[in-house]
């Protein structure tokens, strides 16, 4: 069949029309072989524009077309849909970006016009080598795996479980609840932590569609959105669980004090971390090691903040909560809170702080605190000029990522930030997504936060999953994916390591690498690793790219 190619020039309102001489462009293109129509329109992405495009494709029996307009990031999808509507394979077209790359950046109209012609010719050259790619559909599993049974994990599980969606809740320890089950009271409601958890455990109990695994660990994850295969190890037994999405809620840990230098002696008796102190409070007795009641207590904020390089955000409040604990339990104790600056974001939090201060807690701002153990505990500050002897010290150490973050990140192929917490896809636009589709991060696994924020995130992730994996609905995976030519692959496996989606596996029998069609996202990373180009990316094959590049370099 003879090719019939159309070239469409978008004016983009005045954006392109005023900066590029489109008549000249048209003239330069009309005589290219197989081009049957060169047409312009005010705004191809508008309703009329799309209709015009569709009709032109049909009327001219186009087999391929080029559209010179904006960045493909903006409207490639729009025009793919138009192509489909016109009965054409959506991959038989190519965009030339003459707005961002020509109109907007080149002052001189002649120059901009020249460059635009070059770019459109390049797109024309390339589109000739495009191939039809057929859509695929895969069945998505609606079930969800939640890793970590703290408050965040519990909340997400409860929000997701339902008649046609099972949730597998995997907890490493012997009980659900995470940190907060140890807290006698949690701000700002001052409810008991254990009872908050208990309420939810009761609901989990009743919910048939939550399967909990205690003392369990995820040891392998394969697959992709809609079809993950997870191996979970409980005790000595391993089971295979199939789910469509994964939520990571493994929480946090406190920084290891032995890593810290510059705070003096941190390993003496009667120095407790926040978590240790919560436990003491829960057990009902606040005493020193020798069993006596402390007359004075120093609470030190921001331990390790410099070392980790961020403010953990919640510790100011938990530290102030400790003052409340002591005031409630041991009225009359002298309390000194040493802080660097106070982080009190919520409207209720400021009040809480003022209340506590009014009840006689001494808030001291200092940032060079040293603990000395010389005839009793002493807190030195102000460049050692001031000294405060105390009977007990409570530290608020920085939050750090849970121990398993590293291994999970590798297993799930999701990135972590400089401090080691999992990174969200976008801090504002996609705070619970990861770069891997179908894998979400919530609660303190993503970064230090309060219970309230952890719960919000749990609900956000649940919402995303409910909206994207609807039971019975199929998913359309990417079709512009890479493939390996068996005849040319020598089996060096260099490509395997470059794929962040784990989409390439090695076939030992044939001694070649193979791309898993559904796992591949078409990112193109692997292409560069294969010297001999045994791997090619559909729609971005060497020949397609080269044709475009040569034309531009002409």
């Amino acid at each position: 069949m003879k090719e019939r190619i159309g070239i469409f020039l978008c004016e983009c309102g005045p954006n392109i029309a005023e900066k590029i001489d489109l008549d000249k462009v048209k003239e330069a293109l009309e005589h290219l072989p197989n081009v049957v129509i060169v047409a312009r329109h005010k705004l191809f992405c508008s309703l009329q524009g799309k209709e015009f495009l569709k009709e032109s494709i049909k009327e001219n029996n186009l087999t391929r077309f080029v559209i010179a307009a904006c960045s493909p990031k903006q409207h490639e999808l729009t025009f793919m849909i138009v192509a489909e509507d016109a009965g054409m394979n959506p991959h038989l077209f190519q965009m030339a970006n003459i707005r961002e790359q020509c109109a907007w950046i080149i002052e001189d109209k002649d120059e901009a016009t020249k460059k635009a012609i070059l770019y459109i010719k390049a797109a024309y050259k390339r589109v000739i080598y495009h191939e039809s790619l057929d859509k695929k559909e895969i069945v998505a599993n609606p079930d969800v795996l939640v890793i970590g049974g703290g408050i965040a994990g519990i909340e997400a599980s409860l929000a997701l479980a339902g008649p046609d969606r099972k949730v597998y809740l995997i907890e490493k320890t012997e009980s659900l609840g995470g940190k907060i089950k140890e807290f006698d009271e949690v701000f700002i409601s001052f409810k008991n932590g254990q009872s908050i958890i208990d309420e939810r455990l009761e609901r989990i109990e009743k919910e048939d569609n939550i399967e909990t695994r205690l003392q369990a660990e995820v040891i392998d994850v394969k697959g992709f959105l809609g079809n993950f295969i997870v191996i979970v190890k409980t005790g000595d037994s391993e089971e295979k669980i199939q789910v469509g999405a994964i939520i990571v809620a493994i929480g946090f840990e406190l920084i290891n004090l032995s890593q810290l230098k510059g705070y003096g002696s941190l390993d003496c008796d009667d120095i407790y971390t926040g978590l240790e102190f919560e436990k003491m409070k829960k057990e009902g007795k606040i005493t020193t090691k020798s069993g006596s009641v402390p007359k004075s207590v120093g609470i030190i904020h921001c331990i390790g903040r410099n070392e980790v390089g961020y403010c953990s955000g919640v510790c100011c409040l938990s530290s102030i909560k400790f003052s409340k604990y002591i005031q409630d339990k041991l009225p009359g104790t002298n309390i000194f809170e040493f802080y660097r600056d106070l982080t009190l974001p919520d409207k209720a939090y400021q009040k809480f702080y003022e209340n506590i201060e009014n009840k006689g807690v001494n808030f001291i701002q200092a940032d060079d605190i040293k603990i000395a153990n010389e005839k009793g505990l002493k807190i030195k500050y102000n460049k050692n000029k001031s000294t405060q002897p105390v009977d007990m010290i409570i530290l608020s150490p920085a939050y750090v990522p849970a121990k398993d973050s590293n291994s999970l990140a590798e297993m799930l192929r999701i990135p972590r930030d400089d401090s080691g917490f999992f990174t969200e896809e976008h801090p504002k636009l996609a705070p619970v997504n990861t770069s891997a589709e179908g894998i979400f991060i919530i609660g303190c696994a993503q970064g230090p936060k309060s219970i309230k924020d952890s719960i919000s995130q749990a609900h956000a992730a649940a919402g995303k999953i409910l909206a994207s994996i609807i039971p019975g609905k199929k998913l359309e995976p990417e079709v512009r994916i890479s493939y390996i030519n068996e005849a040319f692959c020598i089996g060096c496996q260099k490509c395997l390591n470059t794929c962040n989606y784990g989409a390439i596996y090695f076939d030992n029998l044939k001694f070649i690498s193979i791309v898993n069609e559904v796992l591949c996202h078409g990112c193109g990373n692997c292409i560069a690793s294969c010297n001999s180009s045994a791997i090619q990316l559909k729609h971005f094959k060497d020949i397609q790219m080269h044709q475009e590049i040569i034309e531009i370099l002409r």
């Binding site: 930030d417 990174t423 496996q493 470059t498 010297n531 020949i543």
Partner: protein, 370 residues
């Protein structure tokens, strides 16, 4: 360094090595061998895999020419070896290429025992072929006096000829002749496996400090040679014009790539049809420049450099084979040295050191994502 001292009557190192290998065969530490052997016509050498005592006896472990770079020979066993303890005697540069290919999953080291030796260099194939008998004579002399007058240019610049405290290449065992008493040679373990083997053979380990000086001296000479020759070479390689001039004679036959151990691809990109142009494309290119040279050899040369110079072991196989006598090995090894420095990487230095560009690092992923 320590090692075991063995006899080599009349300084016939090859004979000594062979009796060591055969004693290993008897003791079961080796079950077969890959050795260099003269071809029946006695005008060249080939690699032979054998467990036959007779063949071992007629082999020449240390041979005067490098016809097939050893790593290329081993690569043909990549789908599996027939026995489990194959002793392979090869030059240091061949060992290094073997290590590189193992990282690229082209050689499986499990079944191999790598034995390297103090390498005085090899003769240019062309010279040897002109008069093989004379070649033998010349080389036998070189084996004793290490005179570098007649060896390949690339060998004159090679400083990885023997093991030292500072590790420059990996093997399991290393045969050393430098600084060892007349009529003797020594074997040094160069890996865990090597230590085990020497233990198994129950040979007496002695101090070999006598070789320190001679080894150091030869390495220094080679480095000096390199420095001097690079002074001339570098200006010929810097800049596109210089480079085009350097490769101007190249007929794009790609023999250099065919014999290079590191070019392991099934189908070289540069001889593939991945990128095809039509005459019109060529015509357009010709019309912008007035002419269009066939086939553009610089693309191939520079492309090959980007593909493999990180692992180039300066073995000189390419230069030895180039029909146009282009100093292609020296050019690649110079570029290789620089790239390797950049990544703080030395090809073939150790079994474990991963190829710099092939390891997945989380930070990199982050960069991609941002």
């Amino acid at each position: 360094m320590d090692g075991v001292i063995l006899k080599a009557q009349n300084n016939d190192f090859n004979k000594g090595i062979k009796s060591f290998l055969l004693s290993g065969l008897k003791n079961g530490v080796f079950d077969s061998f890959i050795l260099s052997m003269q071809v029946p016509a006695k005008d060249s050498y080939a690699w032979i895999l054998t467990y036959d005592e007779g063949l071992v006896k007629s082999s020449t472990p240390i041979s005067p020419i490098m016809t097939v770079q050893g790593a290329r020979a081993l690569k043909s066993l990549r789908t599996g070896t027939p026995t489990q303890k194959i002793a392979v005697v090869m030059r240091p540069c061949e060992m290094r290429a073997v290590i590189e290919l193992s990282k690229l999953n082209q050689i499986n080291l499990n079944d191999l025992i790598l034995i390297s030796y103090d390498c005085p260099g090899t003769l240019p194939i062309k010279n040897y072929l002109e008069d093989p008998e004379k070649g033998e004579e010349v080389f036998n002399k070189i084996l004793l006096d290490w005179d570098d007058k007649n060896i390949r240019e690339t060998c004159k610049l090679c400083d990885k000829v023997s093991v030292q405290e500072e590790k420059t290449f990996q093997s399991d065992l290393h045969i050393t002749t430098l600084g060892i008493e007349q009529n003797n040679f020594a074997i040094i373990s160069n890996s865990e496996k090597g230590i085990e083997i020497l233990n198994e053979l129950k040979l007496e380990i002695k101090n070999l400090s006598s070789r320190d000086e001679p080894v150091k001296k030869i390495i220094e000479t080679r480095r000096k040679n390199r420095e001097n020759s690079r002074k001339e070479l570098i200006p010929q390689l810097i800049g596109l014009d210089a480079l085009s001039e350097f490769f101007s004679k190249c007929i794009n036959c790609k023999v250099c790539r065919s014999v290079c151990p590191i070019c392991y691809c099934r189908q070289c990109y540069f001889s593939s049809e991945k990128v095809k142009y039509s005459m019109e494309d060529y015509l357009l290119q010709a019309s912008t420049r007035g002419n269009m040279k066939f086939l553009p050899s610089l693309l191939f040369q520079v492309g090959r450099m980007t593909h493999m110079s990180l692992s180039c072991v300066n073995c000189g196989a390419c230069e030895d084979a180039c029909p146009m006598d282009i100093k292609v090995g020296q050019a690649f090894s110079y570029v290789g040295d620089n790239v390797q420095k950049l990544f703080d990487y030395l090809p073939g230095r150790s079994f474990e050191e991963p190829l710099p560009l092939s390891v997945y690092r989380e930070e990199e992923f982050k960069e991609i994502e941002n």
